[in-house]
Symmetry: D2
Subunit: 108 residues, 4 copies
C-alpha cells in the first residue's frame, strides 16, 4: 500500500474506535436526550469507516466513491460530536474530522 493509502486506513480505524467509544459513553450520559443524533451518527460512521478501511486494503476499484461517502459521514458525525462538551465527544470530533480529510484526499 502507498503512504496515502496507509494513512487513510489508519485514520478510518482510529475514527471507528472513537465513534464506538463515543456511542457507548453517550448511552451512559445523564443528558442522553441531547445525545440522540450523536449516537445515531457514531453508529453509522464507525461501520462505514471499517468498510472503507477494508476496501482500501483490499485494493477495491470502488475506493474513490466509498471514500467520498465516508468523508461526508465523518464530516457530519464530527460536526455533531463537536457540539457537545463531553471528552469522548470532543476526541471523537477530532478523529472524525481528521478521517474526513484523509478520505477526501483519497477521493480526489
Amino acid at each position: 500500500m502507498s503512504e496515502n493509502y496507509r494513512d487513510c486506513v489508519e485514520a478510518c480505524y482510529i475514527c471507528a474506535a472513537f465513534c464506538d467509544n463515543c456511542a457507548a459513553s453517550c448511552l451512559e450520559e445523564e443528558d442522553i436526550d441531547m445525545m440522540r443524533e450523536c449516537i445515531r451518527l457514531d453508529m453509522q460512521c464507525a461501520n462505514l469507516c471499517r468498510l472503507t478501511a477494508q476496501f482500501i486494503a483490499l485494493g477495491s476499484d470502488s475506493v474513490k466513491e466509498l471514500c467520498k461517502l465516508c468523508a461526508d459521514i465523518c464530516q457530519k458525525c464530527g460536526d455533531e460530536c463537536g457540539k457537545h462538551e463531553h471528552d469522548h465527544c470532543q476526541e471523537c470530533a477530532k478523529a472524525c474530522h481528521h478521517c474526513a480529510d484523509a478520505c477526501r484526499k483519497m477521493a480526489a
Copy 2:
C-alpha cells in the same frame, strides 16, 4: 420500514450469503486460476451488501448514495460470476443481479 426498504434489506442479505458461499466454494475449485476476479468481487460485494442493509435498517440519511454504490458492485460481481458454470457462481450471479435491481430502486 416500508415495503421497498424491506425488499432491499432482504436482497442485500441474500446476496451477501451467496457471495460468501461463492467465495469459499471458488477457493476449493480446481480451476482456481480462473476464479481470482470472482473471489475478489465476492468479498467486496458481500461486505458492502451487509453495510447497505444495516444503513437501510438504521434509517441513515446516506442510504441513496450507498445503494447506488452497492448496485454498481453487485452488477459487476453478478456479471463476473455469470461467466462461470459452477452452480455456486450461477446462483450468486442471480442473487447479485436481483440485489443490484433492488438497490437501484432505492437509489432512484
Copy 3:
C-alpha cells in the same frame, strides 16, 4: 449449505435487521432514558449476527464457538427487548429469541 446452515444464516440476518431497526427506533422514543440497555445490546447483537452469518456461509471451522457466543448475546438482547412495550422492541425480541435457538442448534 445444509438446511440447518441456511436456517441459521437467515435467522441471523433477520435478527440483525430487527436489532438495527430497534436501535434506531429506540433513539427516537420519548422514554429514551429507559432504552439505554436495549440500544446497547441491539448494536452488539446486530453486528455479531452479521459476522456469524458470514462465518457460516464461508464454512469457517470456528462456526460452533461463534454460534455459541451469538446465541448468548441474542438471548440477552431478546430478554431486554422483551421488557419494553414498543412494537419494534417486541418484534426484535421475537427475532432475537428465534436466532438464539437457531444458533444453539448449530453450536450443539
Copy 4:
C-alpha cells in the same frame, strides 16, 4: 479505555489491515493454488478482528469470550501465513501473532 484495551483495539485493526492486504495480494500470486488456505483464513481473521475491536470499544460484556475466539483464529491465520515466503504473508503472520497475544491478554 484502559491501556490494555487500547493496545488490543490497535492490534486488531492492524491485523485486519494486513489480512485484507494479504488476501488481495495472494489472489494475484502465480502460485495461487498454494494460497487457498491463506486467503480463506485471512478473510475470517480480518472480519473477526474488526468485530472484536468494535466490541472492546463498545465496552461489551462479551469481550473476553470474543477475544478468546479471536486469539484462536489469529493464531491459525498467522501460522498459515508464516508458511509462505511472500512479503505480504510474512508481514501478515507477524501482525496476526501479535494480535493473538493481545487478545489472549484480554481474555485472561
